[in-house]
Amino acid sequence: MSELLDTIKEAVVNRKRKEIEGLVSDAIEAGIEPVLIINKGLIEAMDVVGEQFAADDIFVPEMLASALAMKLGLAKVKPLLKTGDQPSLGTVLMGTVRGDMHDIGKNIVNMMLEGAGFTVVDLGVDLTLEKLMEEIENLKPDILGLSALLTITLPEMERAVLEIGEKGLRKNMKIMVGGAPVSKTFAEEIGADGHGEDAAEAVTLAKRLMGK
């Protein structure tokens, strides 16, 4: 059994998108529990991918390819999950701030968070404050993740953190920020609860913010 799970893990780490569905089918037919396939095969693989990314052994193209393989494998096994099998680690609302159309970093964080077991709601890019507040009030997420790639949109990130707080929406919600021009210093200065240097750090941070 562990051999099959190892080959699934290896297929995601080594970006074998054409083989992953067959390998996951083999594991299902061999009677391996879907939860195990997800946790020990797919999620552990993305942990490895995250470590490689943080160490600069791989870059965004390879991460996207691994995430694709994981997504294909997950699509094969997720329908077999029984309710309550895989409780979510928490709900994360993700978006890129107003005036910024960039989303690769955010999308990779989304993939890594989902891979780690979070429920992710992606609001997209160029988010007005009004839209953000409306969705926070509707969805009541555990974590809000804000992304910016352009230095010229950093003021929007600052404003969003400030006004969400002033509206009293931070009582049960943490805010994490990230993106190429966003530093830990900037994150602290604007009052965010945490900063992720990269997607792997974002997952670690999200788990820490959830007390896990």
């Binding site: 970006r15 390819a65 190429a180 210093t185």
Partner: protein, 336 residues
């Protein structure tokens, strides 16, 4: 050598004689709300009207004291001419496009009237206006997007990078190569219109791709571009590119405009003897959030390190305090 703005920049570009002080310039945008208010011109008209575009660029030299004028504030001029539906934004938001005309990686058709498209025409006309105003007095910098960045615009950044990740190398190579003529045409036209230097922005940044990716997919293309385009070229690649600096020099560019994430001393040590270095005052923490004293410290650090042309690391945040931009100029006027 007279220490005019033009002389200081052009001499520094070729590692030539030093004047009374280091030159101060930015190959990317120094437009902020403060500058817009001072000269009475705002976005989006400065992206769309040549006179407005030129006057806002002139303000950087005449009001702030930068030695360069650079009229192309967005990264979308060629993309619009190639068929993207660009939203030209407003005073608070830079242009962008969420439309990817070739996301299926079909063959790119560069229109025959590419240089006559409105988004190209406005830049060329603005450059000619600038030439009449400051030709020989301030250095006029044009800007083109390289074929890697144009690929992002044509197919979507994530889509493009995914193809690299799943090793569809042939279609990636083909897309880049098909877009090269647009970069060449745009650069040549900008020199002819009045640019002294052209900055070539190609975002194979260290935050996205490895040096190996640059070497395989883009270095040969850049070598071809620098040998084809006759005028002086400054490369701009964002992010931490410390691991590929030597390759940028191998690519044949005359200069490299770099960001704060690359330490100035390291950059000078690695490639300062091979190309002009431009930069690299930090945007988010210093220019946007810092004080004039913070700006002063970074400028003096860069000068001491041996950076040739001092300026912001990239296009500045629109809310940058004007005092901080002026602080770059006054720090440079202290001399070497």
């Amino acid at each position: 050598m007279k220490s005019t703005s033009y002389n200081l920049i052009m001499s520094a570009l070729y590692k030539g004689m030093k004047g009374e002080r280091p030159p101060v310039g930015n190959p990317t945008s120094i437009v902020c709300h403060g500058l817009m208010d001072l000269c009475g011109i705002s976005f989006p008209e400065a992206h769309l009207e040549p006179q407005a575009m030129a006057e806002l660029a002139l303000a950087g030299h005449e009001i702030l004291g930068f030695d360069t004028v650079m009229p192309e504030y967005s990264v979308d001029q060629e993309a619009a001419a190639l068929g993207c539906n660009v939203d030209w934004g407003n005073r608070d938001r830079m242009p962008d496009s969420r439309h990817f005309p070739y996301e299926d990686f079909s063959d790119v058709k560069i229109p025959e009237d590419f240089l006559e498209k409105p988004s190209m025409r406005v830049v060329l006309d603005a450059l000619s206006i600038l030439r009449r105003h400051v030709g020989g007095k301030a250095a006029i910098i044009g800007k083109v997007m390289g074929p890697w960045t144009l690929s992002y615009h044509m197919v979507g950044t994530q889509n493009f990078l995914l193809q690299i990740g799943i090793e569809e190398k042939e279609i990636v190579h083909r897309m880049i190569r098909q877009l090269m003529p647009a970069t060449v045409a745009s650069a040549r036209a900008q020199f002819q219109a009045g640019a002294d230097i052209v900055v070539l922005a190609d975002h194979a940044t260290g935050n996205l791709v490895s040096p190996r990716h640059y070497e395989e997919f883009l270095l040969p293309i850049h070598q071809e571009l620098t040998s084809t385009i006759e005028g002086p070229l400054i490369l701009h690649v964002c992010g931490n590119c410390t691991d590929r600096l030597e390759m940028f020099a191998d690519a044949g560019f005359d200069g490299y405009h770099f960001e704060w994430q690359v330490d100035a001393k390291t950059a000078v040590e690695k490639i300062g003897h091979r190309m002009c270095l431009v930069g690299n005052v930090n945007n988010p923490e210093v220019l946007y959030q810092g004080t004039p004293e913070d700006v002063y410290k970074q400028v003096r650090y860069a000068i001491k390190a041996g950076v040739d042309i001092i300026g912001p690391e990239c296009a500045i945040p629109l809310s940058t305090p004007i005092e901080n931009l002026k602080a770059i100029v006054s720090a440079v006027h202290e001399g070497y």
